[in-house]
Symmetry: C3
Subunit: 204 residues, 3 copies
């Protein structure tokens, strides 16, 4: 079940990467690369930071084939993307939650402490998008837009709390996915966002 | 002693990250993320490149709590930052030196050769700022401004020389910190800088 | 032989890094840093992603001395670079091929599967340039310009095919280098490029 959701998640992330590449008029290679890095980048950074080898795509190169395919399909169906926008945001929200839960699980399986597990979930959830934005030469959206990273952070905490309260893993997973997914959709709907910090003194 | 200076150093680095985030009007999550990455990024890149696990913040997540706190405090005291500018530069210079010495120590403890230890000090000293600037979508300051990286490089060499001359570790540490700190402040005061390389032929 | 070509390759890559830094009027430290990262970055990212320690420049810091030297020499001979452009593109094409073959070899020596070996070759070939462009705050050229990454990809596949067909290693290496080199020069000459993906719907 989690695997199915994970595959949907990397597909959705790959599509966001492909669209960002298309806005910069990249060639097909660039589109595929940005898509793969967006989809697998969060998990890769997590694994490198935690020393958790082999990386997911080294063990399962077929996942990269899936994301590459998703990128190419995106270039064909792009004219429809506007109409599919809501579906797309829903898949992306699902991906965010699945990535977060997987990230927490990986850290727990390595025997790491709770705060590190929360960060592992957060990194897995958002850093694919951060690298996508770096490769596309823009300030990462996740540092500026409505609640996205914070939902990932909250979901990681909730998951740990549920396990701490002796919830079975499948239940903790299901509740976290459902709750985080809902909050994320509400955040989009009502444009919830964190306060911003303005600092206007120029560098000297 | 070195630990106290280290904590001051990551606090100062976190504040530079928070201010850079504020210039881009990031939200509070972005501010905290950029601050943490600025403070812990240099050491993390060093550890990943050298295969030195676990990373500092994995072993000590409480340091991340400190940098997150420093970032939030920065958003409150930002209006005062202008007047505190000199204090701030002093703390930053201290941080640069402490990071450099710690980077050299880590490499020596791993039994690596002197040139690698020097690079380890340099990477620890400056790469936090490099990632901060990447996340803020600008060319890294450290590649352009007055003597900063070179002071880190010189301090790493001095430290190794002192150890080579049989100086006890505490003395080598103290002398390196003091000398590097002084040179850095002089570089700011007199705007010492390296020659620049201008190349105007456009890419084709 | 492969080592000689490798040294020529990192020298050529260091020069592209130094020129990119000069376009941004970096100081000499920045020039040397960008050059070293361009030359050694692809291999470093490969090694970190595959968990292949120690990294090349940790085992051989003298290679970094070579790239640093190449960067400084570039700042002196820059006025001649225009006239040497063809020579430069040839050396760069050679570097791309050597990096690719070395990347494939590293993965095979680690016992990794064919698709991972191909990616290892690709990453080694192109990611030095990707980091160079990130540090210089621009969208990676390799995602936009004429056939470059695809030649690396094709060469990696050819090399594996030749080994699969029982070709001796020296022959597979020579044929791959020659074929990839030729295709790359033809791609430059006739400006072969992949189709681009335009997507004009703005982010909201």
């Amino acid at each position: 079940m989690l695997l199915t959701l994970y595959l949907i998640g990397i597909t959705a992330e790959a599509m966001t990467g492909a669209l960002a590449a298309g806005r910069l008029r990249m060639d097909l290679f660039g589109v595929v690369m940005v898509a793969c890095v967006t989809a697998m980048g969060g998990g890769s950074i997590r694994d490198v930071l935690l020393g958790h080898y082999p990386l997911v795509w080294v063990a399962h190169p077929e996942y990269l084939a899936l994301t590459a395919m998703a990128a190419l399909v995106t270039t064909w169906v792009a004219p429809l993307m506007r109409r599919l926008r809501m579906l797309f945001l829903i898949l992306d929200a699902m991906g965010l939650m699945v990535f977060t839960v997987i990230g927490v699980k990986v850290a727990l399986d390595m025997g790491l402490a709770a705060p590190v597990a929360i960060l592992s979930g957060l990194i897995t959830g958002i850093f694919g998008g951060v690298i996508r934005d770096l490769l596309c030469n823009r300030v990462p959206l996740v540092f500026q837009k409505e609640l996205y990273a914070v939902v990932s952070l909250g979901a990681a905490c909730l998951y740990l709390l549920l396990l701490h309260w002796q919830s079975p893993v499948w239940l903790a997973t299901a509740v976290t996915l459902a709750a985080g997914f809902m909050v994320r959709l509400l955040a989009i709907r009502y444009q919830w966002h964190l306060p911003r910090f303005h600092y206007n003194v120029p560098e000297d």
